[in-house]
């Protein structure tokens, strides 16, 4: 048990600064005289930052519309009523009209938002096969068990892409029409549906299985689409670079959201006449209403938003910085008062000792 005796060897302890616990050290002390300027500086810096953030966030415009179709909320309620209790819901389309009195400063991003949708539910979140999505042949034929009950179709074919996330892919679609002058024709605004996913997801993480005879359809032969899908995965888009597993809508959807209310990017408006933003005029959004949300008490929203250096509209950060900065200054003053009042007393105490 006396390991220490043997450890020391010659019984003479090593005399180094470390063993004697006398290493040279910086011994800072968090006293009021240090903390006070710190608090004031931090407070001022935070308030400055907060102001900047607040104003840049305020400069961001947002335009949103709830098209869930609750009774009496616009023409989408027809679709909502039509789809009530029917699976799959019938194809239906509705529209949202809005007008802009002035230029909506670009670049403008089009988002959709779902509420009360638990993409972060564990059972939902694990129901995917990353290996299959990376284009692995064996996984294409044999999806992982986590995908169950969306692993094999009723006919016994492997589902591609498998799992609950893929099955519930958001399938409403939007098109934006612009009426420059009242009574004039509606011109379609080009929506850029590419570049909405993470670059790494699109280029690395999601890969299509190797083509068979140059055809993606053949590559997916022997698989079944998810039960809720109307078309197979290789027909998600006519663009060969945007179909299959690397369809950008699909990739965006597969990045599960953190909270039950979430937004996902639908498109960017940056082409043609609209690269500077949406000019004033009347707009119409044609909505293909497919996605049922009322069954779980959710809502669907469509949002136009401009973007600043700090991303989308985010008043929280600016306000938080302002609050914290003010608190710092306030506490700084409190401490200053305490410091002045108790300074003398402490000095006296020390003199006593």
């Amino acid at each position: 048990m006396t390991w220490s005796a043997t450890a020391r060897g010659a019984h003479q302890p090593d005399n180094t600064a470390f063993t004697q616990q006398r290493l040279p050290a910086w011994q800072p002390l968090l006293s009021a005289s240090i903390a006070l300027p710190l608090f004031f500086c931090a407070g001022l810096a935070f308030i400055g930052l907060g102001l900047g953030l607040y104003y840049s966030s305020n400069g961001i415009k947002e335009l949103e519309y709830d098209y869930t179709g609750d009774p009496g909320t616009g023409n989408c309620s027809v679709c909502a009523a039509a789809g009530q209790g029917r699976a799959p819901p019938p194809r239906c389309s509705c529209a949202w009209y809005f007008s802009l009195p002035e230029l909506f400063q670009g670049p403008v991003y089009l988002y959709y938002e779902l509420t009360n949708f638990y993409q972060n539910n564990r059972r939902y979140g694990v129901s995917r096969d990353d290996a299959q999505l990376s284009g692995l042949q064996s996984s294409l034929r044999h999806p992982v068990n986590e995908c169950y009950p969306y692993q094999y179709s009723a006919a016994g074919l492997p589902i591609a892409p498998c799992g609950a996330i893929a099955n519930s892919l958001f399938n409403d679609s939007f098109s934006l029409w612009h009426q420059r002058l009242p009574g004039g024709p509606y011109v379609e605004v080009p929506l850029d549906r590419t570049g909405i996913a993470w670059w790494t997801d699109y280029h690395v993480k999601f890969r299509n299985p190797p083509l068979v005879n140059g055809s993606l359809a053949l590559a997916f032969q022997g698989t079944a689409p998810p039960p809720n899908w109307h078309r197979p995965v290789y027909e998600l888009s006519p663009d060969p670079n945007n179909t299959g597993f690397i369809n950008q809508d699909f990739v965006v959807w597969m990045r599960t959201a953190a909270l039950p209310t979430f937004r996902k990017l639908y498109a960017r408006i940056r082409q043609g006449n609209y690269s500077a933003g949406l000019p004033r005029g009347t707009y119409r959004v044609n909505i293909t209403y497919n996605y049922p949300v009322r069954s779980f008490g959710g809502h669907k929203l469509i949002i136009f938003s401009s973007i600043s250096w700090m991303g989308g509209k985010n008043p929280f950060l600016g306000i938080a910085y302002l609050v914290v900065g003010s608190l710092c200054i306030l506490m700084g003053f409190v401490m200053l008062v305490v410091y002045i009042r108790y300074q003398d007393q402490n000095d006296e105490d020390e003199d006593d000792e």
């Binding site: 040279p24 006293s31 909405i196 790494t200 959201a257 990017l265 973007i307 938080a320 105490d349």
Partner: protein, 990 residues
């Protein structure tokens, strides 16, 4: 058969040796650490069997007791059968027993017969006997753990219940996008709920800091090296440094409230020096030896002829009445040396008093030469050799407190010489100048000298034979041998004639007084428990400043109890004490006021046993309670005439008193072992009375003065370190798991983890483990010198101050607050807004939405930074190692995350972390959020620290402040302290 330098494989009865006299020498260094050679004796009747053939022909039976762990006690009996005579019965004692683990030395070979083997050997039995000691910190740690366990269970319960409340709406239980499997639907509700509960438990189990136990063990193990490495606790005289036998109690050293110290060898040097002797009232003081010619200073007039005879008898008595062995270094059993060779032989004895006496007497002209074939040889003043046949030794024990020898002189006269403590000799004396000697003894005792009285008795042959039979009967007894021997001794040692008394000085250890004073200033109560008599012990206490001049002494001694009943004495004392206790407690709070009236209590063994003895009417605790009250109000307590077991009793009494104070026992001898084992912390002095105490202790130090550094510096540091370690661990796990708990409310109570598996695993293992470990090894909130200079700082941490509920709750709430900040900070960042990265670094100008893993990673990043910076805020002692570890582990986190997310790891079935961290860092708001949230989390702690320091500074904080003010002045000389630059061992100053 065992050969020289071999270790005995089992416990052996020593039958014969290659040496003619049937002895062998062994060293028990591996057993009890005593490296001196001990002589063991072969059984008388078998020592002739020296060859293997002889041994073959030996026919004998051995009876021995059941195996028991006491190394120094053995009773047995051997019956040797020979063809011719009746069987011979011989007693066997520990001198015939060779223990497993000991090594044979200086003897070619021995023969023995195995009696105890394997797990029954005394060595094996001793390994089991040590009981586990747990420190107060560990106990409160376990309590905190239970609290956290409750938190864990209640969290899991809340979430389970909430889950089923939430799921009561069918569209939330099973929305169309998230269908259950058929098996899940059909599962029993209770079973499902139970599974969910278990899943939540698994999810939240990280709140129980399992890694804390590992870290605490590592901290204790590594930290204890600092004690053994401490150069200031290294004693160059003996070449011994401190030993750490258990590393479990390091922090307990910072919590000691009562110190029980032995006097002899602990407070005092145990370096005996013969001072004077008194024969028949004539006092002899030996001076420095002048080449064999003793210079004797006689204070009184020269004694007459009769006195002269008595005087010589006295000297002979001292020369004969002992158990000293003479050790010649080179030839233990060689041809006898010329007694006049001038070479002083080294005397070896278990009792340093005896050595001092025999050496002192040598200066008075009588020299003990050696024991050969049962004849003791001594050289008298006229350089004649006198030979006495040693008939019996009635060995010393601590109950009788005396020993005797029976010798036959050359002229055939038989003497019994008896030597012992005055209290045990005087009642047995029937003749001699008792009063004169008694007064002299008492005077010496007051001066702090150890006194022994010497008496003799002349025996006639018949008497001796009676004695012989008596002793033999007792020795052969198998059962109750101890008691029978004691009874026999009692009968033999009576009707003595008093010869004189001796006085031996036992000097105080260096700096003993300084140490005791520092301990008292530190709020530690020092009790002295000694076997010595009242006067000697009190003198030593005055010398070491345990009692000061203004200390009012209260006595509960046998002498006083003869006059009053115990009841009266106790009540009177408690009245005296309680009368002043009001003012006393006030003084205690305000620190040390000079005019404080302090009390010292003196109690002796007999009185104590009266107090401890349960009374007939059953109210046993009555006196005890009263006694405890008195003791608690005394600044110093001295217990004299203590038997070893009584020492342990006292320790136990205090240990289990109302406040459950932490006790420390320090001693050097075998008689202190029981109290060392009993106390919370046992410290052994590696001293002269063997290594028994050091072996049984938790820590062993070379000198008493080292106790000061041990408690005030090491103990204080260890306590500060480990309490921060414990609190910090709980804190960081709350921070870790509470966001996870909150997240359940936003993910449908589906046990979704917030963090990636790698983060979950590595958080406690690598991201946040090293800084706290290094902190708990290196932290010095004030410097060592300050701690030593100002013992009162020890009061700041008394009574487990840093692990009180208030502190614990503060830390937990800090953890909860931080967790709320992390979670809701990130929540508001993500909620209803599009937190995006404009990813210009890696992508084209796109704006991508973050997912749940980015959310978790953001929380986690803020958390790792906050938790590490919180520790940085608490660190007062930044060596390069601290810098390296704290900044290093933050850097490691970043590098790891970059790597973890930067590669598609082929062994993972999911790639959910791919590029998550990098994408997060490419987003401006994420950076801003991290900075903000870290600042907000740290803010309350900074505020609390600053305000507390300003408003209610503790003594420690004041010292920190004043030393930091002085620091600029000291800065110049401090970097090159001599201790740092001078690697060579420097001479001690004292």
């Amino acid at each position: 058969m065992v050969k020289e330098d071999e270790t005995f494989p089992c416990d052996l009865i020593f039958l014969s040796s290659s040496r003619v006299d049937g002895t062998c020498h062994v060293t028990t260094a591996s057993l009890d650490g005593e490296s001196s050679h001990k002589t063991h004796y072969a059984v008388q009747d078998t020592k002739g069997f020296r060859t293997e053939e002889d041994i073959d022909s030996l026919h004998a039976t051995i009876e021995c007791e059941q195996p028991q762990p006491d190394l120094y006690r053995f009773v047995g009996r051997i019956n040797v059968y020979s063809d011719l005579n009746d069987p011979v019965v011989r007693p066997l004692g520990s001198e015939n027993l060779l223990l497993r683990g000991a090594t044979l030395k200086n003897t070619e070979k021995i023969f023995g017969v195995a009696i105890y083997t394997g797990m029954e050997t005394k060595m094996a039995l001793n390994y089991q006997s040590k009981s586990q000691k747990r420190s107060a910190v560990e106990k409160s740690m376990n309590v905190f753990l239970i609290v956290y366990l409750c938190i864990l269970i209640s969290k899991a319960l809340i979430n389970t219940v909430m889950k089923y409340v939430w799921q009561s709406k069918p569209f939330q239980d099973e929305p169309w996008y998230n269908q259950k499997t058929e098996a899940e639907r059909q599962r029993n509700l209770l079973l499902r709920a139970f599974t969910d509960f278990l899943a939540f438990m698994v999810l939240f189990n990280y709140i129980i800091p399992v890694s804390m136990y590992v870290t605490v063990e590592m901290q204790k193990f590594l930290g204890s090296y600092f004690i053994t490495w401490d150069e200031e606790m290294f004693d160059e005289a003996t070449g011994e440094g401190p030993l750490v036998n258990t590393s479990d109690l390091n922090e307990e050293l910072g919590q000691v409230e009562y110190v029980f110290t032995d006097k002899t060898g602990t407070l005092t040097e145990n370096n005996m020096e013969f001072k004077e002797c008194c024969v028949e009232g004539h006092v002899y003081v030996p001076h420095a030896i002048c080449n064999g010619e003793a210079a004797i200073d006689m204070i009184d007039a020269s004694p007459g002829a009769g006195g002269r005879e008595r005087e010589e008898l006295f000297f002979r008595a001292i020369c004969l009445c002992h158990t000293i062995q003479v050790k010649d270094d080179d030839e233990v059993d060689g041809p006898r040396k010329s007694p006049d060779s001038g070479k002083r032989c080294a005397y070896i004895s278990s009792s340093p008093d005896e050595v001092a006496l025999v050496e002192g007497i040598q200066r008075l002209g009588f020299r003990y030469l050696r024991l050969k074939d049962n004849y003791m040889e001594l050289q008298n003043r006229d350089s004649d050799i006198e030979r006495f046949e040693l008939l019996e030794i009635l060995s010393f024990d601590s109950v009788r407190r005396r020993m005797s020898v029976i010798v036959r002189s050359a002229t055939g006269e038989i003497y019994l010489f008896c030597k012992g403590a005055d209290s045990s000799i005087f009642p047995r004396v029937i003749e001699g100048k008792v009063d004169q000697i008694r007064s002299r003894v008492e005077r010496n005792a007051v001066e702090g000298l150890r006194t022994l009285c010497v008496a003799y008795k002349r025996l006639i042959q018949e008497e001796y034979e009676g004695i012989y039979k008596l002793l033999q009967a007792a020795k052969v007894a198998l059962q109750d041998r101890e008691r029978k021997l004691a009874e026999a001794y009692e009968q033999i040692e009576k009707d003595l004639i008093l010869l004189g008394a001796t006085a031996v000085e036992d000097r105080l250890q260096e700096k003993a007084a300084d140490t005791v004073e520092a301990l008292q200033k530190a709020g530690v109560k020092v009790w002295v428990l000694t076997g010595d008599k009242v006067e000697t012990a009190a003198a030593a206490c005055y010398a070491c400043k345990l009692f000061r001049r203004n200390t009012q002494l209260l006595e509960v001694t046998t002498k006083r109890l003869e006059e009053q009943s115990l009841h009266d004495v106790l009540f009177e004392l408690s009245k005296t004490i309680l009368h002043c206790s009001a003012s006393l407690t006030r003084d205690n709070f305000s620190g040390l006021s000079a005019d404080m009236q302090d009390y010292g209590l003196i109690i002796d063994g007999a009185a104590l046993s009266l107090i401890m003895k349960p009374r007939e009417d059953g109210s046993s605790s009555n006196y005890r309670q009263l006694f405890l009250d008195i003791c608690r109000n005394c600044s110093a307590v001295l217990c004299c005439r203590m038997a070893p077991l009584q020492k342990a009793q006292i320790v136990k009494l205090i240990k289990f008193s109302k406040e459950h104070p932490i006790t420390l026992a320090i001693g050097d001898g075998a008689n202190d072992v029981s109290m060392i084992l009993e106390a919370h912390v046992g410290i052994g002095i590696i001293g002269k009375e063997g290594r028994q105490a050091a072996r049984n202790s938790d820590y062993a130090i070379p000198k008493f003065k080292h106790l000061k550094k041990m408690l005030l510096v090491h103990g204080h540091f260890y306590y500060i370190r480990i309490s921060e370690l414990v609190q910090y661990f709980f804190y960081k796990n709350v921070c870790f798991i509470f966001p996870q708990f909150l997240y359940q409310f936003f993910c449908g109570f589906s046990q979704q983890t917030l963090y990636d598996t790698a983060y979950l695993t590595l958080y406690n293992i690598s991201f946040t483990s090293l800084p706290i470990l290094l902190y708990s090894l290196m932290e010095q909130h004030v410097t060592m010198d300050t701690l030593k200079r100002d013992p009162a700082l020890y009061r700041d941490i008394a009574k487990n101050a840093l692990l009180r509920w208030r502190v614990f709750i503060y830390w937990t709430f800090l953890g909860v607050f931080d967790a709320l900040v992390f979670f809701f900070g990130a929540y508001f960042m993500f909620e209803n807004t599009t937190v995006t990265s404009n990813g210009q670094i890696v992508t084209t100008n796109t704006h991508m939405v973050f997912g749940n893993w980015t959310f978790g990673t953001l929380v986690f990043t803020v958390m790792v930074f906050t938790v590490t910076l919180k520790l940085a805020l608490d660190t007062h002692y930044w060596t390069w190692i601290n810098h390296f570890v704290i900044w290093g582990s933050l850097l490691f986190y970043v590098v790891f995350s970059l790597l973890w997310g930067g590669v598609i790891w082929p062994f993972l079935s999911y790639q959910r972390m791919y590029y998550v961290f990098i994408q997060m860092l490419s987003s401006g708001p994420a950076w801003l959020a991290i900075v903000l949230l870290v600042a907000v989390s740290l803010l309350p702690d900074v505020l609390k620290k600053v305000l507390c320091r300003q408003l209610w500074p503790s003594a420690t904080e004041r010292v920190q402040r004043s030393s930091s003010r002085r620091a600029p002045a000291d800065a110049a000389p401090s970097p090159d302290r001599p201790l740092l630059t001078d690697p060579a061992p420097r001479p001690r100053r004292e």
